[in-house]
């Protein structure tokens, strides 16, 4: 997950907020390499890797899926986000304000803030699992939705409270500390992989003399495939590919990183994101997944995904430190940024108080393990919620004038709420969520005797229900089409003064 990056957005976002970045402020390629390489090793990587194993992924599906999915993510940054960023050189929010109007951007901020809050909650959960290693209280299991011990609630409250207070008092200090910790953290993740691999070699008595032997061990012992753990969705090659592609969807296809790449001299600098993808979303996920696979190898009944104990087993105290620091340094900017998003709703409120309240919400969210244990689904939802606005920006920049319509319509017409963009966002989200929940909706309607389960209804259920990991791709085209069609209607109805 790229959350540390948000800190950069916040820092850089304080400059040139309402004007294009001037040539004198542009950054070289190396700045982006460093930024992405260090910043995709977050606390949540320690959950995602194990959850792949819990989803019954096989070795080929994992490795090939991550290679392809991460490549698609890099291409999305290069060909969707960066070309617009380097041509306009505006922040996401200013660009959105020109297209959508101030009120719609406020609504977008609210959605963004809520998602950040829950994401920060998952990071607090990750850090709190390290506390459990010391204090030995009951920690949540893979399918737990609610807190299951007083010790857990207290640990999350203390960890989350501290993170919130530090974020409110000294956000910049933690951001600097995160930069110091980044190279160390990346290497600790690598160590997790090496140690886990050796533990597997010893536990299985495998002789590894070549890459072929290693691959054999990976296929037969580490990522064996087969059915997922109870309550988990089975992950195939396509699940892994789409998850790796879309887990940062808000940033590339959703265009959040317009705020980052507006500082790039050339749009191809976005290839720097590959450093982050293949360090954080390849190496770190694989390493973390090996630790969990080893836990299952030792005791197949021990299905708990708890980064603290996993890291402690592999690297002792350093592993625990890594879990705490990874969770803390990534929750910090996330809470701060969620606070900024909420503050946009009430600009006169104190930044300190808003950050504290945001941290408190994230802490309460962190007490519920449902978010962390269902992190794969939550991350997919996070991308889905913000994706339609990326499609709106794409169409507004590249296509809308080809249809004889106005770009930056809210600015031209002085509207505070562009209904074409607003409806494109909300209708797309509704369609996608209905498709994801279609099987559940049909079952409910059948239970309520609204209609009977005929062959045709069953066919509709089987054919049109889409898992959340895949729905964002058709959703992007729906959003783009809706924005174009609705703009055609809306702009005819409300001709801007400038156009007349």
């Amino acid at each position: 997950m790229n959350t540390e990056q948000q800190s950069h957005q916040t820092q850089s976002g304080s400059e040139f907020e309402r004007e294009p970045v001037p040539k004198s402020a542009l950054l070289g390629f190396k700045s982006f390499i460093g930024m992405y390489a260090g910043e995709h090793c977050a606390g949540t990587e320690l959950m995602i890797g194990p959850l792949f194993v819990a989803a019954g992924v096989s070795a080929f599906d994992l490795v090939a899926g991550l290679l392809l999915g991460n490549a698609l993510a890099v291409l999305s940054w290069m060909f969707l986000c960066a070309p617009i960023a380097t041509r306009k050189r505006l922040t996401l929010y200013y660009q959105l304000e020109k297209i959508c109007g101030r009120k719609l951007v406020t609504l977008y901020n609210l959605a963004n803030g809520v998602m950040f809050c829950f994401l920060a909650g998952a990071m607090v959960t990750v850090s709190a699992t390290a506390v459990g290693v010391w204090f030995k209280f009951n920690m949540p299991g893979l399918n737990d939705l609610y807190p299951n011990s007083i010790g857990w609630v207290v640990a999350v409250a203390v960890v989350g409270g501290l993170i919130a207070i530090v974020a409110a008092y000294g956000y910049q200090t933690v951001a600097k500390f995160a930069n110091v910790a980044a190279p160390w953290m990346v290497l600790v993740f690598l160590v997790f992989g090496f140690v886990g691999l050796r533990q597997f070699i010893e536990a299985t008595g495998t002789e590894v003399g070549s890459m072929g032997d290693l691959w054999g061990l990976a296929k037969t012992e580490i990522w064996k495939g087969g059915p997922p753990q109870e309550g988990q969705v089975k992950f195939t090659f396509w699940h892994v590919t789409f998850f790796a592609w879309f887990c940062n969807m808000a940033m590339h296809i959703g265009m959040s990183d317009l705020s980052v790449f507006r500082f790039a001299r050339k749009s191809w600098y976005a290839i720097a994101s590959s450093a982050g993808m293949y360090v954080g979303h390849f190496m770190a996920w694989i390493s973390a997944s090996i630790l969990y696979a080893y836990q299952l190898h030792l005791n197949p009944a021990d299905t708990d995904v708890l980064p603290g104990p996993l890291a402690y087993r592999a690297a002792g105290l350093v592993g625990l430190l890594c879990v705490i620091i990874a969770g803390w340094t990534t929750a910090n900017p996330t809470i701060y940024r969620a606070g900024l998003a909420f503050q946009a709703l009430a600009p006169k409120s104190s930044r300190f108080k808003v950050t504290l309240i945001t941290g408190a919400i994230a802490t309460i969210a962190g007490m519920f393990p449902a978010i962390a244990m269902k992190l794969l689904d939550f991350v997919a939802l996070y991308g889905l919620v913000l994706m339609p606005m990326g499609a709106v920006i794409f169409v507004d920049f590249w296509l809308i004038r080809k249809f004889g319509l106005q770009s930056y319509y809210a600015e031209l017409s002085k509207r505070a709420f562009n209904w074409a963009a607003g409806l494109a966002w909300l209708v797309t989200l509704s369609i996608c969520l209905v498709l994801v929940k279609l099987a559940w909706i049909i079952d409910k309607l059948v239970n309520w005797d609204v209609f009977t389960m005929s062959d045709k209804v069953q066919w509709i259920k089987d054919t049109f229900t889409v898992q959340i990991f895949f729905v964002s791709l058709p959703g992007w085209f729906v959003a783009a089409l809706l924005y174009t069609v609705l703009s055609k209607i809306y702009q005819k109805k409300l001709r801007p003064v400038a156009a007349e």
Binding site: N179, P183, L187, V195, I201, V318
Partner: protein, 60 residues
């Protein structure tokens, strides 16, 4: 001074990783790996913080 701190912190990162490679090769005990990693971690944060903190301030 800065260059010395940079060299020591680089060595700390090597010391952090190398024991696990030796463990992977089956030539070191895991407990020893954990201790060496802890020492390397302390050295990293002590020596990298002064120069990296300064670099960050300059960038900001």
């Amino acid at each position: 001074m800065r260059i010395i701190l940079q060299i020591i912190s680089l060595l700390a990162l090597i010391a952090l990783t190398l024991p696990s490679v030796i463990f992977l090769a089956g030539k070191m005990e895991l407990n020893m790996v954990k201790w060496l990693m802890l020492v390397a971690t302390i050295v990293w944060f002590v020596t990298a913080t002064p120069w990296m903190w300064k670099d960050n301030s300059t960038e900001a």
